[in-house]
């Protein structure tokens, strides 16, 4: 183990010890304000076994994960091609950019009341608002990715008469790949933030619903469990994207050499 990981481990261990000491033996922090480690364990058991806020932990996690995956997938499938198109064709950019500039300053979370008005509190409203949130970073980064391709590469493939149906998968997408993935990572973060917010505003299931009910019940242990689950899922899904990127990139390097 390197010095860095030893220090990191020591810091986190110290924090955990301080947490325990401050909540249980010394009672510096009131249990109504922040849970003790034991409270967290009890809450975790409760939500995992008997259930809380309309379901057990497994249901909430699956529900939230499903909505994020759906919203993110729709955003990636629409945002990336649009960004590539705008990057490739100046005409498309000139056509779409003004509308994009008009809508872009509105933060994704500000769409939540409108989507509730349109689609209610169900899943469709969440997917729509996640799509709005995740669409923008996917588009912008794909656009930038295409624009930052070395013009010589494009000129060369044009000179060699590469047809468009080969040019897009074999030149355009690989060359813009790193930027596309940067965009997708940002999209994924935006998806989680938006989902949690949308579920906090109103939902029937999901981790945001757990947080919302725990807040109303003034149940710090459950709030802690909800936050921890959101963080773990955010981290895990980011790892998945990183893994996909790692597997995609070697192929890119081979294609370029």
């Amino acid at each position: 183990m390197g010095r860095r990981s030893i220090m990191g481990f020591a810091t986190l261990a110290t924090l955990a010890a301080v947490w325990y000491l401050a909540t249980v033996p010394l009672a510096l922090i009131s249990p109504g304000r922040f849970p003790s480690p034991l409270d967290v364990w009890v809450s975790l058991r409760q939500v995992a076994v008997t259930g809380y806020a309309n379901g057990v932990l497994h249901d909430h996690v699956v529900h939230s994960l499903k909505l994020v995956a759906l919203g993110f997938a729709v955003a990636a499938m629409t945002g990336v091609p649009l960004g590539l198109l705008m990057g490739w064709s100046r005409r498309a950019e000139a056509l779409i950019n003004p509308v994009f500039l008009l809508i872009r300053p509105i933060p994704p979370l500000a769409w939540i009341p409108l989507t509730i008005l349109w689609l209610g509190l169900g899943d469709a409203a969440k997917v729509l608002v996640i799509w709005f949130a995740a669409f923008v970073p996917a588009t912008i980064n794909s656009f930038t990715g295409v624009r930052s391709i070395d013009p010589a590469v494009i000129e060369a493939s044009r000179m060699l008469g590469t047809p468009l149906r080969r040019f897009i998968p074999e030149v355009l997408v690989p060359a813009a790949g790193p930027m596309i993935f940067t965009g997708l990572r940002l999209s994924l973060q935006a998806s989680w933030t938006t989902l949690v917010a949308a579920e906090l505003v109103g939902a029937l299931y999901g981790l945001g619903r757990v947080l919302n009910v725990a807040q109303q019940d003034i149940y710090p242990g459950m709030i802690f469990v909800g936050m921890a689950c959101v963080a773990v899922l955010g981290w895990a899904t980011t790892r998945v994207i990183a893994e996909v990127e790692r597997r995609a990139m070697p192929w890119v390097q081979i294609a370029e050499s």
Partner: protein, 263 residues
């Protein structure tokens, strides 16, 4: 292949295509609204939205006029954003300067980083209430990380050779931080401030949608409960405009810093 990929368009072409894009956008919107394909109550036509927006400037809704709601939101945003910058930037610089501090703070920061700022809402409400303190914590949670990361990156990667030179010349620690690291990382810090402001503003809106008794987000929730789509959309427009103004202000700060050669 499309020749436009490499050749820029003329100004006339850009404006022309842009106008077509906007006309199509507003045309489809108006058509959906006027034709009755979507109920007017759920999708007001553009001119109805504009009328409602102007109306809200003087007529109170949910206890205050639109500018008053915005002012109350903006005040909270200002407090949380300044707090995030005041804690994040010095901490980031110190982390870039001291390896030990870096090794202590980074694991904690990494562990907390994946919690979406908005997930702090229940604790924020529990600890500081829903008036001023709670929302400030949420904005802080959104605005603090980019400030810290960018100050850190600026100090760690841009400033490193300069710090070594300054140390060799026997410069004191405080002077190194203030006179070497801070100027060397100004560009990075300001870029961080822009990201921070965007995230902070968006987090505040989210917090106000969930728990608040005033502010633009609160107004939108009330409008949603009253099924007044035009009011909800007016709120979105107002939020977008303020967000844009904040970004323009920070951009001009960036340009000013650059012009004076500070970065």
């Amino acid at each position: 292949m499309d020749r436009s990929a490499t050749k820029p368009l003329t100004l006339g072409e850009t404006l022309g295509y842009g106008a077509i894009g906007l006309i199509v956008f507003f045309g489809v919107w108006s058509f959906l609204s006027f034709s009755g394909a979507v109920s007017r109550q759920f999708l007001p036509a553009p001119h109805e939205l504009a009328a409602r927006f102007l109306d809200l400037l003087t007529t109170p809704f949910a206890g205050a006029t639109l500018p008053r709601h915005l002012a109350s939101s903006f005040f909270r945003f200002g407090c949380g954003f300044l707090l995030g910058a005041a804690v994040g930037i010095p901490l980031g610089l110190l982390m870039g300067w001291s390896r030990t501090l870096d090794e202590i703070v980074t694991p904690v920061f990494d562990a907390l980083r994946f919690i979406a700022p908005i997930a702090w809402v229940p604790f924020a409400a529990l600890w500081f209430g829903t008036g001023l303190g709670g929302p400030i914590l949420i904005i802080f949670a959104g605005a603090f990380p980019p400030c810290l990361i960018n100050a850190y990156r600026g100090a760690r990667f841009v400033g490193r050779p300069l710090v070594e030179a300054a140390q060799m010349l026997g410069t004191g620690n405080l002077r190194i931080i203030v006179e070497v690291l801070l100027p060397a990382s100004t560009a990075s810090i300001i870029a961080g401030l822009r990201v921070s402001a965007g995230l902070g503003w968006q987090s505040l809106i989210g917090a106000e949608l969930i728990v608040a008794s005033a502010g633009i987000g609160f107004m939108m929730v009330q409008a949603q409960l009253n099924i007044s789509t035009a009011t909800v959309m007016s709120g979105m427009v107002a939020i977008g405009l303020v967000g844009l103004l904040i970004d323009v202000a920070l951009r001009s700060l960036e340009a000013e810093v650059r012009r004076r050669g500070l970065a």
